[in-house]
Every structure is written in C-alpha cells, then in structure tokens.
Amino acid sequence: EAGVAQSPRYKIIEKRQSVAFWCNPISGHATLYWYQQILGQGPKLLIQFQNNGVVDDSQLPKDRFSAERLKGVDSTLKIQPAKLEDSAVYLCASSLRRAGEAGSYEQYFGPGTRLTVT
C-alpha cells in the first residue's frame, strides 16, 4: 500500500511570508497528525485530526498556524506569517484507528517537509 505522502519536500521562504504544506495519509486511516521537528529535538505534536474533526490542537500556535482536513482525507498546514523559529521539519503521520478504539495504534510517517525561514 502507498505510504503517507507529503509535499513539498523542501521549502525556503523569508520571514513574514506564508507557506503551506500538504499531506495525503494512507487510504482509510482515520487519524492524521502534524508534527514539528526542530533540529536536535523529537517531533512535537501540533494538531491531531480524527476524520475531519480536530482532536487536539493544544500546541498549535494559532496566531500564525492553521490546518484543515477537508473530507477527512488529505490535509493542509499553513503558516502565516512565518518566523525564523518556524524553521523545522514538518512531519505528517496517520493511523488506522480512531483515538480510544481497540487495536493497532501505530503511526505511519511521511518523509516530511523541511522548512527554512531566512
């Protein structure tokens, strides 16, 4: 089966510009996650969708970050305006099960988008 797809793979922008990242999860996966991974750190959850509803966005900087998952399939993460500290790899992941459902809970990760803000 196809894995999690993300685009673009790399993006360089100037501060105060806007940028958008796209993610297509594995077909049939109910839950989608966006993570921010700053160099030298582990991934930090930004937002978690279950189908097209938001489950957790407690660590999303809502003044500049937004995300949507229309129709419960692919998702877009946007940053507007970008700051220097947003330079990171943005990882998308999906899992088959909904939160709380019995069964497998593994997350499958895409290759990530490396964002550099200058």
Partner: protein, 114 residues
C-alpha cells in the same frame, strides 16, 4: 504530565558490537511504548511497540526492547550493530486515555564505526 527522557544524545559503537539505547518515561499508568528510527531526510519508521503482555518485545531489523515497570524504562537493544543502523532513534509513549497523544523523546543519534 507525560514525558520521555532519552539520556544519551549521541552514541558511537563499532560495527558488530552490541547496542543499548536508553528510554525512561513518566506516566501515571502503563502507557503504550514505541521505538522509531529516522534515517537522514526520511520520516520515522516504527521499529517495535509494547502494549501489554510479554515485557520483551521483538521488532524489525533485529532490534528488541524490554519494558521494566519498576524502572519506568523501555530500553532498545541489538546484539550486533550493522553500519546501516546509523540513524536517529526516538522513544515515544502514547497515553491510554484522553486524546491518546504521543510524546516523543529528544532522540539518540547512533554512529557506527567500520
């Protein structure tokens, strides 16, 4: 609050030597535990997971991990390291209630000497 600690930022081993990467977690109950590997420029790949039952779990690529409740640890081991194992390794915990979110450690970067 949940937390994951990976005490070793960098580890260097010779090819063929054994490996142990440490992971300690803080959580009120027994969480679900995972080890992921990340090669340069790649996403994270699941190595193994622990939900319940046998505390010694086997994963892919010859890795295993042991859950020790008394020590709140979930250390990753491999008896003989290959050069291709050079990567960054992340331990993660998943809550068993609430939003079931994942918390990742800061990672351990493994270097393998030929």
């Amino acid at each position: 609050a949940q937390s994951v600690t990976q005490p070793d930022i960098h580890i260097t081993v010779s090819e063929g030597a054994s490996l142990e990467l440490r992971c300690n977690y803080s959580y009120g109950a027994t969480p679900y535990l995972f080890w992921y590997v990340q090669s340069p420029g790649q996403g994270l790949q699941l190595l193994l997971k622990y939900f319940s039952g046998d505390t010694l779990v086997q994963g892919i690529k010859g890795f295993e991990a042991e859950f020790k409740r008394s020590q709140s640890s979930f250390n990753l081991r491999k008896p003989s390291v290959h050069w291709s194992d050079a990567a960054e390794y992340f331990c993660a915990v998943r809550a068993t209630s609430g939003t079931y979110k994942y918390i990742f450690g800061t990672g351990t970067r493994l270097k393998v000497l030929a």
